[in-house]
Amino acid sequence: MSASSLAWAQFRLERKLFWRNPSAAFFSFGLPLLILLLTASVYGSGNDNLDILIPGVAGMSIMATTFNAMAFNVTFRREQGLLKRALATPMPLASYFAGFLGNAVVNAFVQVGIVVAIGHFVFGVDLPHDWLELVVFTAVGVFAFGSLGIALSQAIPNFDAAAAYVNIVFLPAIFISGVFYSSTSLPAVLNAIAEALPLKHVVEGLHGAIVSGSGLIDNAGSLLVVALWGVVGIFLSVRSFRWE
């Protein structure tokens, strides 16, 4: 089999694994949607806050399906000896990781699509004004959060500790990054921290694409910050990657 058909086989296996692990599927797919539905119900249809919430939850979903999922998954695979096995078999590592990462990419895009669709059809938020911007920010967000998730997994000692490591990053990030409310109401210190981290910039880009119509040019600064975090994530992952 060629490297690309092996990558496809690995991708299909990853899809199967994803759906056979209901708790992981819930935390990356179900939980953001549940938070969306509950919070949006509080606001009620047509409320201005929905214009913040829909791109916010879309951004949170990108983080959940990539950063959280990678940190859990890579830690689990290392602990289970799956990475060690992958190293000794003739499956090219490029094919293995293409299938593995491809699964997370698909999850992120599907999730963003679901959030946008619920926002429009259930809560009356506009359909995205700039689809290209939506795709670009989702893709760069996937790149940044995916690589940072792999980097974080290198610091996680074992799978039991993974939830603590992930949530100590994820929960503060979603509260300071303008997911549920406008970050302008945050204390200056927290806002400055959020400005330095990628989630707020992903959410701003998605807000531009879905709500305000401010384009890629306007949000080029945000795009750059997110992309730089992706480079940092790759650097840390490659430098510290542990196979066992």
Binding site: A9, K16, L17, Q80, L82, L87, A88, T89, P90
Partner: protein, 290 residues
Amino acid sequence: MSDAAIQVSDLHKSYGPVEAVRGVSFSVGRGEVFGLLGPNGAGKTTTVEILEGYRERTAGEVSVLGHDPQRRDRDLQERVGVVLQSGGFHPQLTAREAVDHAARAYPHPRDAAETISLVGLEDSADVRIKRMSGGQQRRLDLAMALVGDPELIFLDEPTTGFDPAARRTAWAAVRALKELGKTVLLTTHYLDEAQSLADRVAIIKDGRIVAQGPPSELSPDSAGYKVSYVAGGSRVEHQTDDPTDLLHRLTGDALARGERLEGLEVARPSLEEVYLELTASAEDPAEEAP
């Protein structure tokens, strides 16, 4: 030895200041079952993991099927099967799915169902791995190593933690591999396992090989043969490296005195005695260097 499957010469491996392997040399012929025997922490797993391509050596020469394993060439990986000490499965898959998936990466895989039968898992092929027993998972591990129809198989402590019945089953599987013409490198800290499976064994201690050869011919440098007989109601014992000469003198003396050597025995030390003598000594390892 051009027909050697594995050739190791003067292999060294250090982890920081700790020297785990200190000049190991051995070779394994094609079709041979070779046992690397030694107590925990002796350097067995480090040696095997260098041969498997997991670790880079500090010094020395290593050839596995003509390749340098630390380059992890795909061509080599297609011809080698590795049985890990534990795990390496997705618990949500079934054995059949795991073996099927593993088979895809090999150019000439064995039939997945046949491989599952070979390790005796046909009755639980469709059970999720998380619901399989530890012993069944170890057999699945063997199936994963065999599905590529490898020439050479690494078995790292294949029966650690097995009950005696599971152990016999695993031994039968290793003998089956030998009958298929496979080369097997086995590590173990069980003497009986090495004795009953391996064509040749190397005893490794403190990162060095202290003896090697067929299990029946192994002897520590000092002991050699044990010659004993009964004289005056008690057993007299002699240790010698050259029993021919000793026997000639003993029998010559006995004949000269007109006596019989009652209960004469010439014995080689058992593998167990050799092993215990070689591995229990607390000498400075430097003194054991060959």
